[in-house]
């Protein structure tokens, strides 16, 4: 065989090896992730019954459910989202509409990115220092603030992105009609970016609803059903964590049911967020 022919054969062989590698690792990766979803479904569905939603966490050996943890998670996530939407949308609006190319804007943008991927357990330590230690008590409020701190960067980021995508003519048209700029922002830009803002909120919600680490030493846990956020509050992730590491089979079964609930919620919310985000392109 001539030299070029050998080289061609070698290149083709390398190509086949490369393609085979890509195919094999994709199959392996998808298989691993399917295995996780499969065990989640097979272990979780068994423990998922009406008791899970109507009874509070049991003592080992007795019947019970996750009602207190679900209620606690819903309350803390809801409060966290209210706080985070308020701060996040305003901060994102400032970055998109008022910051321009200022140095301060660049700093805030960079730090927001850092906060976006900061380890969530550190946020828990921070909130412990400012809201738990001074008041000598764990509380659902502290948990909600910790979750809000994790949701804010997501909302800031999406708010800035969707506002920057709005056409400049939209702003000019509003200003030309004599509207003050703040009115243009609130009544025109926010309105036309509505679906984008909603997507950001949903993604932030999906992120915080499964967070465990920041709740461990802020909201702590509570064995009983309670709607009082000034007391330690149970949450699904923390209950899952405690129950999964326990030695009792019925607790572990509840942990799997809870994990399935959380994963299903997160997946559903993420899918809705994607559908909402796609909507404006259709019209």
């Amino acid at each position: 065989m001539s030299a070029p022919a050998i080289r061609l054969a070698r290149r083709r062989a390398a190509d086949i090896v490369f393609k085979a590698f890509c195919l094999v690792v994709t199959i392996v990766a998808l298989a691993a992730l399917t295995a996780i979803l499969w065990s989640l479904l097979s272990q979780g569905l068994g423990g998922l019954d009406l008791d899970v939603f109507t009874r509070s966490t049991p003592a080992p050996g007795s019947k019970g459910g996750l009602a207190n943890a679900i209620a606690g998670s819903v309350m803390m996530c809801a409060l966290a989202m209210v706080l985070a939407l308020f701060v996040g949308v305003l901060a994102g609006t400032w970055l998109a509409e008022y910051a321009g190319r200022s140095a301060y804007g660049a700093v805030v943008r960079f730090l927001n990115d850092m906060l976006l991927s900061a380890p969530s357990i550190l946020v828990g330590l921070f909130v412990y220092e400012i809201l738990v230690a001074p008041f000598h008590g764990f509380s659902g409020f502290a948990g909600a603030v910790a979750l809000a701190l994790l949701a804010v960067p997501v909302i800031v980021r999406t708010t800035e992105d969707v506002l920057s995508l709005q056409a400049a003519t939209l702003r000019e048209a509003g200003v030309a009609l004599g509207a003050p700029y703040s009115f243009v922002v609130r009544q025109i830009l926010w309105r036309s970016a509505r679906s984008g803002l909603l997507t950001g909120a949903l993604l932030a919600f999906a992120r915080i609803s499964g967070e465990t680490a920041p709740l461990l030493f802020t909201a702590l846990n509570n064995q009983f059903f309670s709607l009082n956020l000034t007391h330690p509050t149970a949450s699904l992730p923390v209950v899952i964590f405690n129950f999964a590491l326990s030695a009792y089979d019925d607790w572990r079964r509840l942990a799997w049911a809870g994990a399935l609930l959380i994963a299903a919620t997160v997946l559903a919310v993420t899918i809705v967020a994607r559908i909402v985000a796609r909507e404006p392109k259709r019209s």
Binding site: T26, L111, P119, E129, I130, L267, I271
Partner: protein, 323 residues
């Protein structure tokens, strides 16, 4: 009447401000304060860790980073064990996840049949959002028994006494340990890294790829010498974001690392990471010094991840500016 039309009225000295203009300043101020609140939050995070960890930093000094004694009974703390544990598990996780994430991203952008591209890409992105506690539980209940039976036990049997393999595989074959934690971490960061890499590769202009194919390059050559170099900076940034995630991850690790202090001596040895130590001990800290030591540990994690994430963001930004 006609006069009024012909001679223009004198212009008002000052244009009246539109209604609600005063509100504008307030609104802008509110937006500005919200943005500043972000700055305050991150600053507060750093300061609170510093203040909380100060007693431990003052007592143990630099030795806090280099000694591996972590003893709540005698109230002596050294963080080398958790620090080494965090760096090792994150590093090994990255080594495992990177080639796989790259392979998935290349497969999705270059090889995958068009009808499957969207669904698989979406599935990978959705999986990136699964809470890490799910990965941790799966690691503890499903992965660990299998790993113990099919990897740890056979490897320990096969290791010759006195060989390097024996040293590496020393420990209890119960499925947990440093290597198990690394593998679970790798599985957890895999969808995230694959999704980010895929997004980056999609930014390569079609003309660039097509001209490479037009010159007769094979798929492997197009990927390795054209598209990958095109997104190089961004790709390194994406990898470092994955590393940052692995370093600070709590839940996926705590379940399966074994939670032993001190320096791990083998792949199967129990260990701990910074995040897992804080998660396990913080609410049960017995003395003020114990709490302070955990806060100082948090500060170490903050500094490490801040550097990694900072570099990652700068690289991703540089790549975004280019494209």
């Amino acid at each position: 009447m006609s006069e009024a039309i012909l001679t223009p009225r004198a212009r008002p000295a000052r244009r009246t401000a539109p209604r609600g203009a005063a509100l504008g300043k307030i609104f802008e101020g509110l937006c500005f304060s919200a943005a500043t609140a972000l700055l305050v939050a991150l600053g507060g995070l750093l300061v609170s860790l510093l203040v909380g960890g100060w007693p431990a930093i003052r007592k143990f000094g630099f030795g806090f980073l280099t000694t591996a004694t972590w003893n709540p009974v005698t109230d002596v703390y050294g963080a080398a064990g958790p620090i080494v544990g965090a760096l090792t598990t994150a590093g090994v996780a990255l080594v495992i996840a990177l080639p796989i994430a790259g392979g998935v991203a290349f497969f999705l952008t270059e090889l995958c049949p068009a009808p499957l591209r969207g669904p698989i890409g979406t599935a990978v992105e959705l999986l990136a959002g699964i809470p890490s506690i799910v990965y941790g539980m799966w690691g503890l209940f499903v992965f660990a028994p299998l790993f113990s039976r099919f990897v740890q036990a056979p490897l320990m049997m096969a290791a010759k006494p006195g060989s390097l393999l024996e040293k590496l595989t020393a420990g209890v074959p119960n499925g947990s340990g440093i290597l198990s934690a690394s593998i679970i971490l790798a599985i957890m960061i895999l969808p995230f890294m694959a999704a980010t890499l895929r997004e980056l590769l999609l930014t390569v202009p079609a003309a660039v790829r097509e001209s490479a194919y037009g010159l007769g390059a094979t798929t492997a050559e197009v990927v390795m010498s054209v598209t990958l170099p095109y997104v190089r900076t961004g790709a390194i940034g994406a990898v470092m974001l994955g590393l940052g995630r692995a370093l600070g991850e709590t839940m996926a690790v705590t379940f399966i690392i074994g939670n032993a202090h001190g320096l791990p001596s083998s792949m199967f040895d129990s260990g701990s990471t910074i995040a897992s130590t804080i998660a396990n001990e913080f609410t049960e800290a017995s003395t003020p010094m114990h709490t302070a030591a955990l806060m100082a540990l948090g500060l170490v994690l903050f500094v490490i991840t801040f550097i990694v994430l900072g570099l990652a963001r700068l690289m991703l930004r540089a790549s975004a500016v280019k494209s």
